[in-house]
């Protein structure tokens, strides 16, 4: 096993990982950074984010407004100290990206343009047409090439964290092209490994979004937080689940049911706004949880359009005109034509809600620290409690910048102040265990379970039990199913025994990671007997601040279901109130 000694090891080279790496390299060029990722940086799923990144820049906006939108949007399950720090840092980070060359869309006078987004009271979403995440990722990746202290380990699959003396001291990862294991020994480790949307059958997430880092931390004893909060994006393209950005609605697109009726007005988001004149925090510019829930109700009422790919409603942009769509939403048009055969310039696009984002993740605080010293986490894999029970669109791209930088600062400080010798023998022992685990998995024979089979059962069960609306009964069933699947996972057999780019093996590891996390989603949801943000219980329809204005923590218990615990929400200046998206009308 090869040993790589480094100062800061970063797992994941998407937006969060790259921002963290750059921040370390910029301020501390003498520190070695190992950037470890199972894919090349440009393949990371940050590239699929479309709409934009929120940050206060215009004179009609204020930090308080961004704060209020975020806290209310998150149904008060946000830590307000975190939100305050975030809104304060957001503009600086977005400007920094501008200085690094991000091709933000511009106003005629040359300043950066902003567009409206759901749940935001003011236009504050910086955008690069409808490929904002793509441009952010490539800007960061290309900028990272400037720094010689960043050493990338592309296509290295992280297997386990290495813990000794009560702190995290590295990670063991497999070089995918050779099957060889590498032991990365680091003074601090930052997890930036993304979400786990592939736990669900219908998701905007790419194949790589399997929660590997989150599961790794969870297995190592770090609790996950608020995993039951899963965001459904209201406008996923039918059949594939490809994301059609909220920018579609920001630019004036509207949702219609099978009768052409703009149904959102029936769900507390009216009154109907005139076509082509979107009103902030109203109708189509309501938050994602509410819009997805409205779809579910329409479906119950039989107002959706049945298709061979499931029920759908329409996202109508035909009134925006070809020129505007080509300028602001070129990708949306291309995707609709390629994957649904529908030109949004001419016809409404069939859509349905689709799993998009995990609000939950590794338990972190305002410093991006996990409870384990030396271990930090940033981005979708983490839960800094910025997003609460429902993330507002365009906050997550900014989040990975703001907290990437924060994590870098704190990881550097930790690494600098930690002169204790690494516990080499203990670390090697753990790495050997990981080696054995992999070998056992590859060589095991006589198994009867298939990866694809178990995966299909898992995704189906999560969707049925822990979808947009949940009940005790469906959740309990899902909890049982997932527990059973975790047992059956021991019975899978790999047919690929090769050491070279063994995707059979990687899929098996990913499935194991997803199954562990699926259990935290279902168990967390079962325990939370209230409705809040994206977690809606038909049997407990109201929000219950008395009992559940708390974060859910889930602790790994080996083969058993996780232990559920709770953690206080930080409230500084905004007392829990009513989420109002009716444009001021009562």
């Amino acid at each position: 096993m090869e040993l790589i000694k480094t100062d800061i090891a970063i797992v994941g080279a998407g937006g969060a990982g790259l921002r963290t790496a750059i921040a370390v390299a910029e301020s501390n060029p003498d520190l070695k950074v190992a950037l470890i990722s199972k894919v090349y940086p440009m393949r990371s799923h940050t590239c699929a984010a479309e709409g934009g990144a929120a940050g206060v820049i215009k004179s009609d906006d204020s930090l308080d407004l961004h704060f209020n939108d975020t806290v209310g949007g998150g149904d008060w399950l946000t830590d307000q100290d975190v939100v305050e720090y975030f809104v304060n840092e957001a503009p600086k980070e977005l400007l920094q990206l501008e200085h690094w060359g991000c091709p933000w869309s511009r106003e005629p006078n040359g300043s950066v343009g902003v567009r409206p987004f759901g749940g935001m009271k003011i236009k504050r979403t910086w955008f690069a047409a409808d490929k904002s995440g793509f441009h952010i990722l490539h800007t960061l990746f290309q900028t990272s090439l400037k720094y010689p202290s960043i050493e990338r380990f592309d296509e290295f699959f992280s297997i386990d964290l290495l813990m000794a003396d009560g702190r995290c001291q590295g990670v063991v990862a497999m070089e995918m092209k050779s099957g060889r294991l590498f032991r990365f020994q680091a003074k601090a480790v930052v997890l930036c490994s993304g979400g786990a949307g592939r736990m669900f059958p219908f998701s905007t997430n790419g194949a790589i979004k399997t929660g590997d880092g989150t599961a790794m931390a969870y297995r190592a004893g770090v609790p996950t937080k608020d995993m039951e909060f899963v965001q459904y994006h209201p406008t996923g393209l039918l059949a594939t689940g490809i994301l059609l950005t909220e920018g579609c609605r920001g630019e004036g697109g509207v949702l219609r049911n099978k009768d052409g009726y703009r149904y959102l007005q029936d769900y507390g988001m009216g009154p109907e706004t005139p076509l082509g004149e979107p009103v902030l925090k109203t109708m189509e510019l309501g938050p994602r949880d509410r819009l997805s829930q409205a779809f579910w109700h329409e479906q119950q009422k039989g107002n959706t359009i049945p298709t061979s790919w499931g029920d759908s409603t329409h996202l109508d942009m035909t009134h925006l005109g070809e020129k505007h769509i080509d300028e602001r939403l070129p990708l949306v048009r291309e995707l609709s034509i390629t994957y649904a055969g529908v030109d949004p310039v001419k016809e409404p696009v069939p859509i349905r809600p689709v799993v998009h984002y995990m609000m939950g993740g590794i338990h972190t605080n305002i410093d991006a620290e996990t409870p384990v010293p030396g271990l930090f986490a940033v981005g979708e894999c983490a839960c800094a409690s910025l997003n609460g029970a429902n993330r507002l669109g365009s906050n997550s791209l900014t989040e990975l910048l703001v907290f990437g930088k924060r994590a870098a600062t704190n990881a550097v400080e930790f690494a600098r102040n930690r002169n204790a010798e690494a516990n080499e023998s203990e670390l090697q022992e753990q790495a050997d265990k990981a080696q054995t685990k992999i070998r056992e998995l590859v060589q095991r024979s006589g198994g009867t379970e298939s990866i694809a089979g178990l995966r299909a059962e898992m995704t189906k069960s999560l969707e049925e039990g822990a979808g947009i609306y949940r009940t005790e009964e469906t959740l309990q069933k899902t909890c049982n199913t997932i527990a059973d699947l975790r047992k059956r996972y021991a019975g899978i057999e790999l047919h690929d025994k090769s050491n070279v780019f063994n995707t059979d093996l990687f899929q098996a590891l990913e499935l194991g990671n997803m199954l562990a996390l699926a259990q935290t989603v279902a168990e967390g949801a079962l325990a939370r007997k209230e409705s809040r943000g994206s977690h809606q219980r038909l049997d407990y329809e109201a929000r219950d601040d008395e009992q559940y204005l708390k974060h859910t923590l889930a602790y790994y218990q080996g083969d058993e279901a996780p232990r559920i615990d709770y953690h206080d929400v930080v409230i500084t200046k905004s007392k829990p109130g009513v989420r109002d998206y009716s444009g001021g009308a009562k």
């Binding site: 440009m42 400007l95 060359g101 490929k131 291309e334």
Partner: protein, 247 residues
Amino acid sequence: MSAVQLELEILRYDPEKDQEPHFQTYQVACQEEWMVLDAINHVKDEVDTTLSYRWSCHMAVCGSCGMMIDGQPKLACKVSVKDYANKKVRIEPLANFPIERDLVVVQDDFMEKLKRVKPYIIRKEEQPIEAGEYKQSPAELKKFKQFTLCINCLCCYAACPEYALTPEFMGPAALALAHRYNTDSRDQGLAERHKELSKPEGVWDCSFTDTCSIACPKHVDPASALQQLKIATTVQWYKELIGMGDK
């Protein structure tokens, strides 16, 4: 949901077992809405789990699933199975790259070349963040915008005959990105990039076949960038010749 029958001939290669690659045939009954990637995923999930290939986003933006489909470099997630209905379709790893395993190619060469063109903003003096953004008009943005759309899928390298003949050639995507930064109004790094671009394996190995632009699934025009770069490189060379090289 009518079905489309596809006969996939997939190039297989496992360096631990095979001396050289060979084709393996799979019959796949596809749903009409499927992309070729969905058909390959079907093979992986249901027929042969040993098949190795890269993929992720399934929306033509991550650039993972570039491969030769029926002899042409394409993103597997962006071509419909209907285009090949009832046909034998050859699926091969991207041309001009070494095969690591099955449809997975070695991309280290591109990663190295990308770094060499310095694809980032270079300035003599940084404006502090507090001073706000660099102003850039929509026209200035448009000037380089299309070249920012490259997803690094490497279809252009697979299409480029010069890269096949002269592997040292920097190639279309890396050079298009050099041009993207050279023409960004915020950048002042042309003279610095010139050192790399003016080498024989820089812009000069391009013989302008235009096949990179034809292959690009994102409608970027690297061939155009290359020709503009040749002009810029020539101008810069003459400038340096008379001692006015610094941009």
